[in-house]
């Protein structure tokens, strides 16, 4: 088997006349934790539903673990563990009953099931809820049961649709570290619209908006793309006119906007926006030396993933 665990080519899905997913292509390698990022209704869940064989693509192709999701869906489903959005689990079963049911559905060796359930229960922190009804569990525990179910049969690929939605901050941290741990051995795809989540857990990010793939890279690569970004400069004011400094800074190549902002007493502060990829700190420093300004502060504010996300997905939000 090749290193690519998931290959998606020109994947398209229409719901009636609405196009939910539009010619999306990507590949996921073994051991990657892929974050699927996008506003609500961008097509994340639909893509995941296609990868898990719940829906069929209108056009395009998806291979999971080397098998086609449409023509060979049973093989795909054997190799995938899936946690659908909102963790739908039979509420009338106890945790143990449910996990036994999942194991039986997966055709797992009956002698090994109790041991495996115990092991996975420990990893997912199920502790002493095994005998409780799923319907009586808190959202966090239900999510853990969902994760345990997705990993029970030791699949190569784990697909999690919004695994942390509706959890409290403590639970989110726990689930994230669990996902990170899973990601060490497995290929994981998770969807979210929470940005820090991607930074915290994913080795790679796909940003999808209006059904289209708009970005693909590591979180650092995506942030770097936005660089050039924004600089903050503070100069001691001793006798130098604020406007003169501003005009001089605005002349630097690459600067798209230079504005005086509120600074501390006896200092002029400026916010500079720059396009392009170059680093403006050097030219700013030289300009300060040439003009004998006393530079108090010079900082580049690197773009956050949030900026990247907003830039790439605004204008598409209304379409959800």
């Amino acid at each position: 088997m090749s290193d690519l665990m998931i290959e998606v080519e020109g994947l398209t899905k229409n719901y009636g006349i609405t196009r939910a997913v539009n010619k999306v292509s990507f590949g996921v390698r073994r051991g990657e934790v892929l974050g699927f990022l996008g506003p609500n209704g961008a097509g994340k869940s639909t893509t995941m539903k296609i990868l898990t064989c719940f829906l069929a693509p209108t056009a395009g192709r998806a291979l999971v673990g080397g098998h086609d999701v449409f023509t060979d869906s049973l093989e795909v489903r054997k190799r995938v563990g899936y946690l659908p959005e909102d963790t739908p689990i039979y509420r009338d079963m106890t945790v143990l009953e449910f996990l036994e049911f999942a194991a039986a559905m997966r055709g797992m060796d009956r002698d090994k099931v109790p041991g495996r359930i115990k092991e996975i229960g420990q990893r997912c922190g199920l502790g002493d809820v095994a005998g409780k009804l799923v319907g009586e569990l808190s959202k966090g525990f239900r999510q853990r049961v969902g994760l345990a179910q997705a990993m029970l049969h030791d699949p190569d690929i784990v697909i999690l649709d919004e695994p942390t939605s509706g959890l409290d901050p403590n639970q989110i941290v726990e689930i994230r570290s669990l996902i990170k741990e899973i990601g060490r051995e497995k290929t994981v795809i998770l969807s979210t619209h929470i940005l820090p989540e991607v930074q915290a857990t994913c080795s790679r990010v796909l940003i999808i908006s209006g059904g289209k793939l708009v970005a693909d890279g590591t979180p650092d690569e995506l942030r770097a793309r936005e660089r050039g970004g924004r600089y903050r400069v503070v100069v001691e004011s001793n006798g130098v006119a604020k406007d003169a400094i501003r005009d001089r800074l605005a002349m630097l190549s690459g600067v798209t906007r230079c504005e005086a902002v509120a600074g501390e007493d006896g200092a002029h502060a400026f916010a500079i926006d720059a396009g392009g990829a170059g680093d403006l700190r050097k030219p700013i420093f030289r300009a300060a030396v040439d003009n004998r300004w006393t530079l108090l502060e010079l900082a580049r504010e690197s773009a956050s993933l949030e900026d990247v996300f907003r830039n790439l997905t605004t204008g598409e939000e209304g379409k959800s």
């Binding site: 689990i89 559905m105 997966r106």
Partner: protein
């Protein structure tokens, strides 16, 4: 174990974990017993279960939708169907599993009505053949009713809608059969008695098992379960 059996086992457990199943089964047994003893048995003064069997086509119209309505519709509404169907299981296995669970509950219910047979037997000699044949016929006819219910449940997300659809379909088939008595002899009457879900049971309740009746019930089961499977599969159609 086959995934269909795993699903059937889960559903049977779910039945016995919920008060609804007990209420439905108890109500059915009490009503069936009441009608049989009060209106049939003591009137005819005949040591036979025929009066009991005769009421079944009508009573199953209420029993089957109540048992089957939530089987698939509920899973659609709660989203668990997505989890179930993304496990390595074929759609027909899901449908078959649900159907088998309904049949298990039906068999349990019918087992309770054996009390009537025992009672009647204490009061007079009962012909064993027609009784055994009648119960087999009940399972066959019940299968047809249950399959209609499972199909209706696959068509919708609402178990109430599923219940009503199943009831209407069963009622339709039942009425067509009843109309046989009022139709002039001819192809129309023949057709009506072929379609009618109760008419095929008449023979059986008299103690005659005819292959045509058996084929009819298996056909209804086959067609309904097939349509239910297609309905599940339709999510993957474009």
């Amino acid at each position: 174990m086959n995934p269909a059996m795993v699903i059937a086992r889960r559903e049977v457990r779910a039945y016995f974990n919920s008060p609804v199943a007990y209420i439905v089964v108890a109500a059915f047994t009490i009503i069936a017993g009441g009608i049989f003893f009060i209106f049939k048995f003591f009137l005819t003064q005949e040591a036979s279960l025929r009066g009991f069997f005769e009421t079944m086509p009508m009573l199953f119209m209420f029993l089957a939708p109540a048992i089957t309505m939530r089987l698939i519709a509920d899973e659609k509404a709660s989203g668990t169907l997505e989890l179930l169907i993304t496990m390595p299981v074929r759609d027909w296995q899901v449908v078959l599993g649900k159907f088998l669970a309904a049949m298990a509950l039906l068999a349990t219910t019918l087992a309770l009505t054996l009390v009537f047979a025992i009672t009647v037997r204490a009061l007079g000699p009962v012909d064993r053949g027609p009784t055994i044949g009648g119960y087999l016929g009940l399972l066959l006819m019940g299968g047809a009713y249950m399959a209609i219910g499972v199909m209706s449940s696959a068509f919708t997300r609402s178990s109430i809608v599923a219940c009503i659809v199943a009831f209407v379909i069963s009622l339709g088939l039942f009425i067509v059969g009843q109309a046989t008595q009022y139709l002039p002899a001819g192809p129309l009457q023949g057709f009506a008695s072929f379609i009618g879900i109760g008419t095929h049971f008449d023979n059986i309740s008299r103690g005659i098992i005819d292959t045509r009746d058996v084929i009819y019930y298996f056909s209804v089961m086959g067609i309904c379960l097939l349509l239910a499977t297609l309905s599940l599969e339709s999510r993957r159609w474009n």
